[in-house]
Symmetry: C2
Subunit: 279 residues, 2 copies
């Protein structure tokens, strides 16, 4: 494990000297099979794999969410080793933010609705820390999960707009057998909430089925999803929308590919998920 | 001359393969001896020198300033050749901004006053395009003039905050024999304005002399400068301030190093300049 930016750069430069391509998997730690899918993909496609573990304070809109975000460092390091990761960069906050941070990277439009609306400042924090991590590691390829679809779109747009020299590789969401998307927050669910949590993906699947059966009205798809969620009154919905996958704005008529995105609370845990659908 | 990002990257990668370090001098063209000082410094310190020529539309707050900004491309290319520049990157706007630009880099605090106050959005445009150019060229060293002192501070802070892997090298302002700081805008001055323009630097020098004579009250230094400017009623002042050189905020008591910064109009031309002083 490496805790400093300087040491990470030395390791990456040495790998490059040996002619290796470099892949980076930026994470907040608390690794699970979803991260493993990113790491395995990086392992397949690049010669030197760097995983970053950093619970980034500036992307949390709620103090208590930051405070209780899991940080099982030892287990994460063992997991990385088992996946043949070459280098783990796990900086402290003081290494990433040594002075007062004055600079922010913002991706307008894409960041304004859905997650951006319910978590003010979240995407600014994500874009800024991802820009930093990409500049620190200087990888050829960077791997991000599709579970955070809007985040992925924000990062892809940032990389394109700022000409950051990296290829962003999206990796499909990994799910439990019952359909629940893997997330580090799942372990915080109460048992009774964990039991109904799979309904979130069932709801998205119902919306997708509605689109694929020919629904062009987003309300129809949305209602199909809401009917599923209604089975568990514990769900408190932030949003469930049918959006244009390029700009993450709600569509008025479904035509071609859309993404159905949702965020909902179970107790004090907020879950997000999404599904693609094509009409 | 190279007009595309892809070709620039190929040339820089080839230079790196030959073991050369890379220097970049980002400019808006209309090159003069001030730029030559940046280029010569890059030539001394790096093995492969890239000059970028790009009149960046998103940093102009006034349409007419953008429209009449000089663009003598042929002369610039010859000048670069005479200075043994290895590669000139002169993209069209469509190459730099192919799609709707949603991403912005902003440096808070440092950007808010002085130039930031009088040219709303200016530093956002500067920071964003410089981030892009640094990512495109991926140089080891980037050269910027001290004439644009606040811009230099904004860029230094951005590079530090975002961990952009480049060393920013400040280069001292080049002046005409009469003291006027070189600027591409000087050639737009009417003859009667060109005649009094050197008073701007004489005013800064008077403020510096006041500080070096022991003035600790910024008003005293400021008044010394204003007395000089009063000799030419044609000057219309945007600001003249004694600021902390790290944060570009006015100081209340002068102690240690300060920077005296000014912006003033002569006719329809806006000039800026600055001077360091130590108490």
């Amino acid at each position: 494990m490496v805790a400093t930016i300087a040491d990470t750069r030395v390791l990456v430069a040495a790998a490059r000297k040996r002619g290796l391509s470099v892949g980076v998997v930026p994470t907040m730690g608390a690794l699970h099979e979803g991260h493993a899918a990113l790491i395995r993909r990086a392992r397949e496609e690049t010669g030197y794999v760097v995983v970053t573990l950093f619970v980034n304070p500036i992307q949390f809109d709620r103090e208590e969410d930051l405070a209780r975000y899991p940080r099982p460092l030892e287990a994460d390091l063992e997991y990385c080793q088992s996946l043949q990761v070459d280098s783990v960069f796990a900086p402290r906050a003081g290494e990433m933010y040594p002075d007062e941070l004055l600079t922010a990277v913002e991706v307008g439009g894409l960041s304004s609705r859905l997650e951006g609306e319910f978590r003010p400042g979240h995407f600014k924090g994500v874009a800024t820390v991802v820009a930093k991590l990409l500049n620190i590691v200087q990888a050829d390829r960077a791997y991000f999960g599709e579970k955070d679809a809007q985040q992925l779109a924000v990062i892809q747009k940032m990389v394109a707009d700022l000409n950051i020299p990296v290829t962003v590789v999206p990796v499909e969401t990994v799910r439990e057998e019952d359909g629940l998307a893997l997330s580090s927050r799942n372990r915080l669910l109460l048992p009774e909430h964990r039991a109904v949590a799979p309904l979130l993906y069932q709801a998205l699947s119902a919306a997708r089925a509605s689109v694929e059966a020919g629904a062009t009205d987003p309300h129809e798809a949305r209602n199909a999803a809401l009917a599923v969620l209604a089975q568990a009154p514990a769900f408190r919905l932030d949003y469930l929308e049918v959006v244009d996958p390029a700009i993450f704005q709600p569509v008025h008529v479904i035509s071609g590919e859309v993404r159905i995105v949702t965020a909902a609370w179970l107790g004090s845990v907020r879950l997000i998920d999404n599904a693609r659908a094509t009409c």
